[in-house]
């Protein structure tokens, strides 16, 4: 049974995109992997990155790692300074008790959400295109949660008492305050980290086994051998793997919604105008997915360029991600508008003042940076040319990253700086906090670059499952098709 390729409808602008996309003869839509690749070619493309000898690590990569690691080293010094001097090294003042510490935390936790959405929700909805991007989106999640934890663990002042966050039996007979959303946050973020890590690792096991089997050096054999947990690729292994993966996906899916909901409770459960808003949970979740997908673009576009993965991460992936950015960006814009509407409609003077103060008060510049980056930028993705272009996507995603950081700044600082007592109004100016933010980026990128160097950045096994060759009805590309007939792929059905 051979389906002729002329039944397949391809996008009109396929030439314009510069991709050579072979149609998937079984599914009848363009294939997710570009070019005439068989299974082995996918393995080669992905493993090439990890298998370069240590001494042959590309110079630009080493430069990037050195840059990130120096940021991390600086962060270590900064933490020492913070522990020695205390949070007085920040610009936090009397009404503004929460500033960059919480801003950075919410920023990083939010970024993680894209990874979970890609890995869990898109998986459960059988969105096959996710397979090319889920691995490093999940890695991004884990490293972002680590960066977020470093913010929230260091903002407590007496950092050595952080174990108070956990319900550990103690001689005081005291438990954490379970009625506080800050305590819920501890559980939400820890659960999130643990489930994400398990999910990520489970997916990595078959790919680690591939790297182990291909290893030519002893340390690689041992390293990947230990990580692959004795994976042999037997039918039983695959059956167990699929079950475990599905269960973990089911665990992760609600976390996409719950974690940032609880982060938003940190604000919404308080009674401060500007924070005490019922729209916060969905608004925060949309914002989290929005910022996360922007970060996925920021990380993915250079990676696919420099690692030579353009055939696996195609314009279609870029476009799909941009569509999600467009949807969630519009939701965020709607939430901004709704906050103002509710402030006006409530007739509450304090609520009204807070929002007018946000827009036109001393922090007007932060508010308008937020609006222009988060509301206007994603609307450009209505244009197909823009949302399929790597350069545009990278640039616009960068603006979204900036805008989403400012969103958290606006929510945290502008709500606090003019409280109910006019005499205590104050203007918050950061002192050393820039190093704090740069340090978390150093931590994040050090981990991320090490991941890129040593772990398979694309889920090889999963990508192979969504290739046309994996379909039981696959009988090779039809030779009468006008598109490229691929000799390599034609014989690659069951290799």
């Amino acid at each position: 049974m051979s389906t002729a390729t002329n039944d397949v409808t391809l996008p009109d602008d396929i030439k314009l995109r510069g991709d050579v996309v072979l149609p998937d003869p079984v599914q009848g839509r363009e294939a997710l992997v570009r070019g005439p690749h068989d299974f082995h070619a996918v393995t080669e493309m992905v493993c090439k990155v990890n298998e370069a000898p240590l001494k042959a690590t590309p110079k630009p990569f080493l430069f990037g790692l050195a840059l990130a690691a120096s940021g991390l080293a600086m962060f270590g010094g900064y933490i020492g300074y913070l522990l020695w001097e205390g949070p007085g090294i920040w610009g936090n003042n009397n009404p503004v008790g929460w500033a960059w510490d919480i801003v950075n935390f919410v920023f990083w936790v939010g970024i993680g959400h894209a990874g979970t959405l890609i890995s869990a929700i898109l998986y459960l909805f059988r969105q096959k295109w996710r397979t090319s991007i889920n691995r490093y989106a999940e890695a991004m999640t884990i490293f972002a949660v680590i960066a977020a934890s470093s913010c929230v663990a260091l903002h407590t002042g007496r950092v050595w008492m952080d174990y108070y966050l956990f319900p550990i039996p103690n001689q005081m007979g005291l438990w954490p305050n379970f009625r506080s959303p800050l305590e819920w946050d501890v559980f939400a973020v820890n659960t999130y980290f643990l489930v994400s890590l398990l999910f990520w690792f489970t997916g990595l096991v078959p790919d680690f086994a591939t790297l182990r089997d291909r290893a030519t050096v002893r340390w690689r054999q041992v390293f990947y051998g230990a990580l692959s947990l004795g994976w042999r690729g037997s039918m039983r292994h695959w059956q167990t793997y699929e079950k475990a993966y599905q269960i973990l996906a089911a665990f992760s899916a609600p976390l996409v919604l719950s974690v940032h909901t609880i982060v938003s409770f940190d604000f919404a459960v308080s009674q401060l105008p500007g924070w005490h808003t019922t729209i916060f949970p969905p608004y925060f979740v949309a914002g989290a997915v929005f910022s996360g997908f922007a970060m996925v673009q920021t990380l993915m576009l250079p990676a696919r360029h420099w690692l030579g993965l353009k055939d696996l991460v195609t314009a279609k992936h870029i476009e799909n991600i941009n569509k999600i950015i467009l949807v969630t960006g519009s939701l965020v814009g709607y939430a901004y508008a709704m906050e103002f509407f509710v402030a006006a409609y409530s007739g509450n003077d304090y609520e009204g003042f807070t929002f007018l103060n946000r827009m036109g008060g001393p922090y007007w510049w932060a508010y308008w940076i937020m609006v222009s980056c988060n509301v206007i930028t994603p609307q450009l993705f209505w244009f197909r040319k823009i949302r399929t272009s790597a350069a545009w996507s990278f640039g616009l995603a960068f603006f979204v990253n900036i805008g989403m950081w400012f969103e958290r700044f606006v929510i945290t600082v502008t709500s606090l700086h003019r409280d109910a007592l006019v005499s205590s109004w104050d203007y918050f100016v950061p002192v050393t906090e820039v190093f704090y933010l740069v340090g978390t980026f150093g931590l994040f990128f050090t981990l991320f670059l090490l991941f890129v160097r040593f772990f398979p950045v694309i889920a090889m096994a999963e990508v192979k499952m969504v290739m046309p060759q994996a379909d039981p009805h696959w009988e090779g590309y039809s030779h009468e098709g006008e598109h490229h007939a691929a000799p390599a792929a034609a014989s690659g059905g069951h290799s």
């Binding site: 550990i168 039996p169 103690n170 005081m172 007979g173 005291l174 054999q221 041992v222 051998g225 004795g230």
Partner: protein
């Protein structure tokens, strides 16, 4: 291809998981148990400058505690006696004793301003407010009761050298503050050692405890009740951390 790992390594993921979980539980238990004041503080028995025996003075000779610890019922701190208190008796009794040499040295150093430097045993942190007198006698009228010396300090009458008998940890404080009844006794039995409540007094304990911890008092140190502020035993955080 040759095997990379020997066969026994099949068990390592399982062992790491189980070992990690058990290790974490063991660590928490170890800190909870061996780093708590039950182990670090109970039994603290420093060497005092004078070989003074409570077993002799309070036990055998049945001296009243308050003869030396004069502020126990009136002061925030019960206090330890100055040399002069010793000399009330020892100006006459056992004058030449070698064991009493530090007492006489302190008394006869010419100026009389250098008292014996007893080593403090029962210590509370600075951030915990504690008033000794409030615990020795509390309540009014028929609801007046006391906590006996032995409840917190142990059988002093049997100690040759005094040791810390109770942990003085926060949970230990709170255990009594949330259920003070069983530790209450009549005020005339404060210093009595080995006292136990009879059936009548057990009823009184329940009655008095209810005046110390009326329902709903858990949340606050002081409440405005019946036209006046009242302090309850379950004092909330600010009762002790002021």
């Amino acid at each position: 291809m040759a095997q990379i790992f020997p066969r026994w390594t099949n068990q390592t993921p399982r062992l790491i998981t189980i070992g990690g979980l058990l290790g974490l539980a063991a660590l928490i238990f170890a800190v909870y148990w061996w780093a708590s004041p039950y182990h670090t503080d109970v039994g603290y028995q420093p060497k005092q400058p004078v070989a003074y025996s409570h077993a002799l003075h309070a036990g055998e000779l049945k001296m009243d505690c308050r003869y030396c610890h004069v502020n126990a019922e009136r002061g925030a701190s019960a206090g330890v006696p100055p040399t002069a208190t010793c000399m009330n008796c020892h100006a006459q009794v056992k004058k030449g004793s070698e064991q009493l040499k530090p007492v006489y040295d302190s008394w006869l150093d010419g100026k009389g301003d250098k008292s014996i430097e007893w080593v403090r045993i029962h210590k509370l942190p600075d951030y915990a407010y504690f008033n000794h007198s409030a615990h020795v006698a509390l309540g009014v009228g028929e609801n007046r009761a006391a906590i006996g010396c032995e409840t917190c300090h142990g059988r002093i009458d049997q100690m040759v050298v005094v040791r810390q008998d109770q942990p003085l940890s926060m949970a230990w404080c709170i255990d009594c503050h949330s259920n003070p009844g069983p530790n209450l006794r009549p005020t005339d039995a404060v210093t009595k050692m080995g006292w136990s409540a009879d059936l009548d007094w057990q009823e009184s304990q329940k009655r008095i405890a209810l005046t110390l911890n009326p329902p709903g008092s858990l949340s606050g140190a002081q409440k405005f009740v019946d036209g006046q502020y009242k302090t309850y035993a379950t004092a909330g955080c600010t009762g002790c951390h002021r």
